[in-house]
């Protein structure tokens, strides 16, 4: 997903909608159609389902245009760091309990590596992550832990500017 394409899509959408509605209710567009037709960048993203869930209003992945715009405003590179961190946290928090616990981490890892790590390895990585980032010793990551971790990354890598429409690009 290159950002100029994204910009194009969004601007087109916006234009179309403003032309169509003129102050009427937002037309309801389903994310599946949109995703399939418009967003090539999402097809390979391991978290696509999760992103749709997080941004959709009903929590099941059905996105209205509002949600769609919402997502783009977050994914855009002009979006503030904290905002990105907040939504990234929501995405990694698979069970919606406002904490990233071990099961969330396992899910994340399995999605990232396409289940190529063994269970022992996954368990070890989870332990390491919680050991590293958990500041209050409650065995799970809260939003603050997450934000702190991200801040450290940005300071360390001197990444004050985000590359692209990504959360935080490490490479």
């Amino acid at each position: 997903f290159r950002e100029h394409e994204g910009g194009h899509q969004v601007s087109k959408l916006v234009k179309r909608c403003t032309r169509k509605r003129k102050g009427l209710s937002w037309s309801r567009l389903f994310w599946r159609i949109l995703f399939k037709k418009k967003m090539c960048f999402m097809q390979d993203n391991p978290f696509r389902q999760r992103i749709a869930e997080v941004f959709s209003e009903d929590g099941e992945g059905n996105m209205t245009l509002d949600d769609f715009l919402d997502m783009f405003s977050v994914l855009s590179e002009m979006a503030p760091r904290d905002l990105k961190a907040y939504y990234a946290f929501k995405i990694y928090d698979f069970n919606n309990d406002d904490f990233i616990c071990k099961s969330d981490l396992e899910k994340t890892l399995n999605k990232l590596t396409r289940n190529e790590l063994t269970e022992d390895e996954v368990r070890m990585v989870c332990e390491k992550v919680i050991d590293e980032a958990d500041l209050d010793n409650d065995g799970r990551l809260s939003l603050e832990d997450f934000q702190h971790m991200i801040m450290r990354l940005l300071v360390h890598k001197e990444l004050y500017h985000f590359k692209g429409i990504c959360w935080f690009n490490t490479t």
Binding site: V10, L109, R114, D136, M149, R152
Partner: protein, 929 residues
């Protein structure tokens, strides 16, 4: 009403607020039409602005120059557009002012009509307005993002007329905003409502205090809108907030989004990114190497990076020899067949074009620019008066010097990088949460990314396991000593074997090789290759005893095989030296024969020693010396060719054929071939690296006698880059334990340096101590090769230069200079050592501080959690009551309204995150304490 929260963001949006409040004031003035107050208000405004400026200057010193400039540029642009549209706006403005004056006299209902009118006009001028707004928005955004002071400075610099224009332009918007604001706020809050009502109602007679209050209310409103984009509210909620304000602002929200994608800033960033992409695309084979790295880990990639680096070096060596030696001789030197050294001798002429001979670099290939012997000893050639012998000598020395320089410089740079180290305190978390690149839109790239993430995880896991492992130290120590002992035995044995074989072959050579069979003739080569084949395997087995980390194990393995291969080099050099001695003996005979031949020639054909025309003998018929330099060059070229061939053939057979067999025979075999015995081969990093290094050593050794060697090597490296990349991707499997290797491996460099030194030694020895052949090469006729420098000094430079040079080369000057150099080296080394120590200490300090901080944080977090518990208990009652009061309002968004008051109702919940009613603020608050 948590004002203090808003204050945090106050500095960010000050510029904007100021602007708007200013317009607001202006509107009031217009509506009143009072000119007397104008002056006083202007003064006040200016004072305020100055206050703002100073405040901002004090608080926001961290803004950079670049930002200032950018903001300034945008500002100028804005002014331009403002000027353009100024007249139109003025016209419109007059009309509106009239409207407004009427409207103020009438009641609130009529005001709505005006608003409608205004929106109509706005829609009419939508396109133009949009442009202006975009720019303004951009500007405002810039302000709030960077908290920039540039704008205000600019503002001060500009004169009143400009300001007037701006104000007029803004007026329609601001009036409608103010009205709508009063409407929306009358709906929602109680406190602002009263204020606003006041404002609308008693617009005619305002005291300064009331004005202040009004301004504050508007400020808050503006702040909310300005900071809204930074809040994690769903879009719907944002829209509701904005829509409740007015039509205009809703358009603005859309514009916020479209603006995000169409601003100059964005274009610049995009350009930067494209430029980065372009730069990466310019690095040769970067994509290939990245792909390999993602599948095979960084150790395999390090080999390819090394190969690429080597390619670069050879490129420069090739440029030097080709541009300064081969091309001048081919273009400006005497043509082929003019002198004996440039012609194929008569007895070889029949077979000179045979492919077998050419393949062996004999025949025409031998008598060409490719080899030393072809070059003429003429001091200056062509119309350029190109000093070819001097150039030949200097290029020969220069290539070696350049190689030294590059290798050492690279080593130093790598050492620097290693010294920096990286923060690994959040290694795994970063890998988990931030490794996916959300820009990836290509399935293949995505596959590679998945593979590379998996590999990096595996690498990190191996590192972690290694650091965690603590076995029986005594046992491992014993095993390591044993392994080293075994390896030493192996090395000593193979060294003795080589020595023995070489001695024996010398004996055979003295007695004449014809009497012996095939084995005796090829004994040395066979022994060498057998050793080279089996010893690495043995070392591999032995290294499993040691139980090292795979990276360290690789280094040991490399070192051991390197030591073994040194034997190879040593035998080769000995054999060459012997051959040189033989050739020189032959040369002596030819020399004496030649004088006899010449005497015979002259005696036979010219009986009288008069001034008869000299006899012309075809150069092919003139007897000539064996030219040991060309022989050496030929040897090296043959060696390189055969080495390349063996590498490629083993690659094809050992990897490709094996992979094909395993793949296709697996269906009809009695055991599982893919996971059983033969399986697919792993990429042999150590073997390949050593092959590369020794190959390069050969190049350095032979480049002086065969200028074509760098070109050949370049070709070889180029082909092997593609071939090996292909082979790795198609028929190798990743190693079992993928480990992390630094991309720029200093160990390889160190070995390269050793090889460079070892290979320059014999080359320098031959150049300095063996006299050149008498009838071939650029130095023929001189006693030593370096005499060419002496000659140049004498004939090409003024006399005083030679004198200075001779003084400078006086031992009395050279020795102190050397001493000085040694002292300097010693001093620099000791300082670097101290720096390193200080660096380590600092790092340790930082680490301990980090740990302390972590502990402190944990304590603070515990405390905060306790406080939170208490606060929640007390807060529950409060929130229930507050919710009760707000239940009368319609719910705004379905999911989040239950946990906090709707955000559209102002600034009460400005900092809240959905789903986190109070926690973030409280905690951050406590942290700040």
């Amino acid at each position: 009403m948590p004002r203090h929260k808003l204050k945090n963001t106050a500095s960010e949006s000050d510029g904007k607020d100021n602007e708007f409040s200013l317009y607001y004031v202006e509107v009031e003035e217009n509506s009143q039409g009072g000119q007397e107050k104008q002056t006083t208000r202007d003064g006040k405004r200016r004072r305020e602005r100055n206050g703002e400026v100073s405040r901002r200057r004090a608080s926001e010193k961290r803004t950079t120059e670049v930002d200032n400039k950018r903001a300034g540029k945008k500002h100028e642009k804005r002014h331009k557009t403002a000027r353009k549209e100024g007249e139109k706006h003025e016209k419109r403005q007059r009309r509106k002012n009239a409207d407004r004056e009427e409207a103020e006299e009438e009641s609130n209902k009529e005001k709505k009509n005006i608003k409608n009118e205004r929106t109509k006009t706005l829609k009419r001028d939508d396109e133009k307005e949009k442009d202006v707004k975009k720019k303004r928005k951009k500007h405002v955004k810039n302000e709030e993002d960077n908290a920039n002071s540039g704008k205000t400075k600019q503002k001060d610099c500009h004169d009143m007329p400009l300001k007037e224009k701006k104000k007029k332009r803004k007026k329609p918007e601001t009036t409608s905003e103010s009205e709508s604001k009063s409407e929306s706020e009358s709906e929602s809050d109680s406190a602002p409502e009263s204020k606003d009502n006041q404002a609308v109602g008693v617009l005619g007679s305002l005291t300064p205090e009331e004005l202040e209050k009004l301004k504050e209310a508007v400020d808050e409103r503006k702040k909310l809108i300005a900071t809204m984009r930074g809040k994690p509210w769903p879009m719907k909620k944002k829209l509701v907030v904005l829509r409740s304000s007015c039509v205009l602002q809703r358009q603005e929200t859309l514009l916020i989004i479209s603006f995000l994608y169409y601003s100059n800033c964005q274009k610049w960033m995009k350009f930067q990114r494209d430029f980065e992409n372009f730069k990466t695309a310019c690095i040769p084979w970067e994509m290939k190497i990245k792909e390999i790295e993602s599948h095979f880990g960084s150790s395999v990639a390090s080999y390819f990076i090394f190969l690429r680096w080597m390619y670069g070096i050879n490129m420069i060596l090739f440029g030097l020899t080709f541009g300064l030696v081969m091309v001048p001789e081919a273009l400006m030197g005497k043509p082929y067949g003019s002198i004996p050294r440039k012609t194929v001798p008569r007895e070889e002429e029949t077979s000179a074009m045979n492919f077998a001979v050419l393949w062996d670099f004999g025949g025409y290939a031998k008598y060409s620019v490719l080899f030393y012997g072809y070059y003429n000893s003429q001091r200056a050639i062509g119309w350029l008066k190109f000093r070819l012998p001097l150039s030949y000598f200097l290029v020969g020395v220069g290539t070696v010097a350049y190689s030294y320089m590059v290798v050492i410089r690279t080593m130093a740079r790598n050492a620097n990088e290693e010294g920096g180290g990286d923060d690994t305190s959040f290694n795994f978390s970063w890998k988990t949460f931030t490794s996916w690149d959300y820009l990836i839109g290509n399935p293949e790239t995505a596959d590679n990314k998945f593979a590379s993430i998996t590999t990096s995880f595996k690498e990190a896991i191996v590192e972690e396991q290694e650091s965690r492992k603590d076995d029986n130290i005594h046992l491992t120590r014993f095993l390591r000593v044993l392994a080293n002992f075994l390896v030493l035995c192996c090395l000593a044995g193979s060294g003795y074997l080589i020595y023995f074989v070489v001695r024996r072959s010398q004996k055979f050579a003295l007695l004449g090789l014809e009497n012996y069979g095939w084995w005796e003739r090829n004994e040395v080569n066979m022994v060498m290759s057998l050793l080279g084949m089996f010893c690495p395997m043995l070392f591999d087995v032995i290294s499993t005893l040691e139980n090292y980390h795979p990276r360290v194990a690789l280094q040991w393995q490399l070192g051991r095989i390197f030591a073994l291969f040194l034997g190879n080099l040593y035998t080769f050099i000995i054999a060459l030296m012997d051959a040189i001695q033989l050739k020189r003996a032959e040369e002596e005979i030819v020399k004496t024969n030649m004088t006899i031949w010449q005497a015979n020639l002259y005696n036979g054909t010219v009986p009288d020693n008069s001034t008869a025309p000299p006899i012309t003998v075809h150069p092919a018929d003139i007897p000539r010396g064996p030219c040991w330099e060309t022989m050496v060059g030929q040897e090296f070229v043959r060696l390189i060719i055969s080495d390349t061939m063996t590498t490629y053939i083993t690659l094809l057979i050992g990897d490709f054929l094996r992979a094909v067999l395993v793949r296709f025979l697996n269906n009809c075999w009695c055991w599982d071939l893919e996971y059983g015995f033969p399986s697919y081969s792993e990429f042999d990093v150590s073997g390949n690296v050593l092959g590369l290094i020794f190959n390069q050593g050969m190049i350095w050794m032979g480049a002086f006698y065969a200028p074509c060697l760098p070109a050949l090597n370049l070709l070889r490296l180029h082909v092997s880059m593609y071939l090996q990349c292909w082979a790795v991707m198609c028929c190798n499997v990743p190693q079992e334990r993928v480990f992390k290797a630094s991309g720029s491996n200093n160990f390889y460099m160190a070995m390269l340096l050793v090889i460079l030194f070892l290979s320059t030694l014999p080359a320098i020895y031959t150049i300095v101590s063996i006299p050149p052949s008498f009838d071939c090469g650029p130095f023929s006729g001189k006693t030593r090769m370096f005499d060419v420098i002496q000659e140049t000094l004498e004939s090409d430079f003024p006399a005083w230069f030679g004198k200075v040079f001779s003084y400078a080369s006086n031992p009395g000057l050279v020795l102190p200079f050397l001493l000085l150099l040694v002292l300097a080296i010693y001093y620099l080394q000791s300082t670097s050592k101290t720096y390193k120590r200080v660096n380590m200490e600092l790092k340790k300090k930082l680490q301990t501080q980090n740990e302390e901080n972590k502990k402190k944080n944990k304590l603070a977090a515990l405390k905060a959690a306790n406080e939170l518990e208490q606060a929640r208990k007390t807060g529950e009652q409060h929130s229930s009551s507050s919710q009760h009061t707000q239940n009368s309002e319609p719910p705004v968004s379905s999911t989040h309204t239950t946990t906090r008051p709707p955000a559209s109702r102002g600034h009460t919940s400005s900092g809240h995150l959905p789903g986190h009613p109070q926690q973030p603020q409280k905690n951050s608050h406590s942290n700040r304490k």
